[in-house]
Symmetry: C2
Subunit: 225 residues, 2 copies
């Protein structure tokens, strides 16, 4: 007697992953690589993009996620880079993160075929953004040296869910009681050997390496998220 | 003919507020005043408490909320202050905030009758903690000058939901391109005339005023949250 093999449909009810895959298909069809950029509030995501995007030899678009306001999008627009502001406040209940559906709602505002790289600047938050895939190729998180060395231990999922950790504001190290080695040790404790960049978006130190990393992402280099 | 007046039970299904009121009753019965202390990750909540609590002439307890780890609780315990670490990771699904039920689960670990003041250090996050009352008397939020002047406009609920804004790390102002007046203007734009303190937990500047504020809270002074 034959048994009928039961097909297991995994994650069938996970609407976020379903929509993330739809986003992924659209990105693939247009040949655009996508970075999900995450950090705590004020770690310097937008400032790093300002320092980086000008010198980037790629067609870049930016999706700005914030609870309210368009301050970050205005800064990117001033660089004549296609940018869309997505506010989680209106219609999305003031969510503390972007999810795949929010990102999908913003995609028609871009000409994806005209982009090589889409950078999604997530809502400033070290917890929930790491839980929601949005169809990205890869994830980077920015950690500011003003935030304290123990952050990887307190927010391990965020540090684990990314393919690059940018340690920002290193120009301030000389004014802080900060143990950089301890931070790097704590990062490796939760995500062994994750690539790390030491950067000051203000002085420009390390910005070239971040630009190189983005170029590699656009060329399809880093491992998928 | 008489109409039967329909009783409207408002918020009856809002479990969080129901539990927050139960917490509130317990706090009242024990005569303990409660501060819900909120900020972005790394704004210096614990460092401010370290700088403040030693010189406070009150019986203080601290409830530390973090996704994972006990780094902050260890620092408070080193001051011989009753402290309980509440991790949202185990059993609470890695939540990005404390809610009334989580706080309630931690209350038996305190001797509330032996406290004048309970400080609840929330999970570092500028969004969701502001949405969940936990039975507190009042709320304070800490905003670090390393985070940028536009934060009140991007996270207005957090700045509106508190009775005090502590502007921390002012010792770093001389090393930053930071417009303090712009921050204060933006705070007033979302929460007109909210009390503000300029503080450096590192140098001690403004710490006395925060200590005075806590003493007033314990005496029942500030308006309820």
């Amino acid at each position: 007697m034959h048994r009928t093999k039961v097909k297991i449909v995994e994650e069938a009810l996970d609407a976020n992953n379903t929509i993330a895959r739809a986003n992924r298909s659209d990105f693939d069809r247009s040949g655009v690589s996508v970075v999900n950029l995450m950090s705590a509030p004020g770690a310097g995501k937008t400032t790093l993009l300002e320092a980086t995007l000008g010198g980037l030899d790629l067609r870049v678009g930016v999706l700005e996620g914030d609870v309210q306001g368009s301050a970050d999008a205005d800064r990117i627009a001033a660089m004549h880079i296609p940018v869309v502001q997505l506010n989680t406040d209106g219609g999305f209940g003031g969510e503390c993160h972007l999810d795949a559906n929010m990102v999908r709602s913003a995609l028609p505002a871009f000409s994806l075929d005209d982009l090589d790289l889409l950078i999604i600047e997530n809502v400033g938050n070290l917890v929930c953004p790491a839980e929601f895939k949005v169809g990205e190729d890869t994830r980077a998180m920015i950690c500011s040296v003003t935030e304290g060395e123990e952050k990887p231990l307190k927010y391990p999922l965020m540090f684990r869910a990314c393919e690059l950790v940018v340690v920002n504001k290193i120009d301030l190290l000389e004014h802080l009681d900060y143990d950089l080695d301890k931070l790097l040790y704590n990062i490796d404790a939760v995500h062994p050997d994750v690539p790390k960049l030491l950067v000051s978006a203000k002085t420009g130190e390390g910005v070239d390496q971040f630009r190189d990393w983005l170029t590699q992402v656009a060329a399809g280099a880093p491992a998928p998220a």
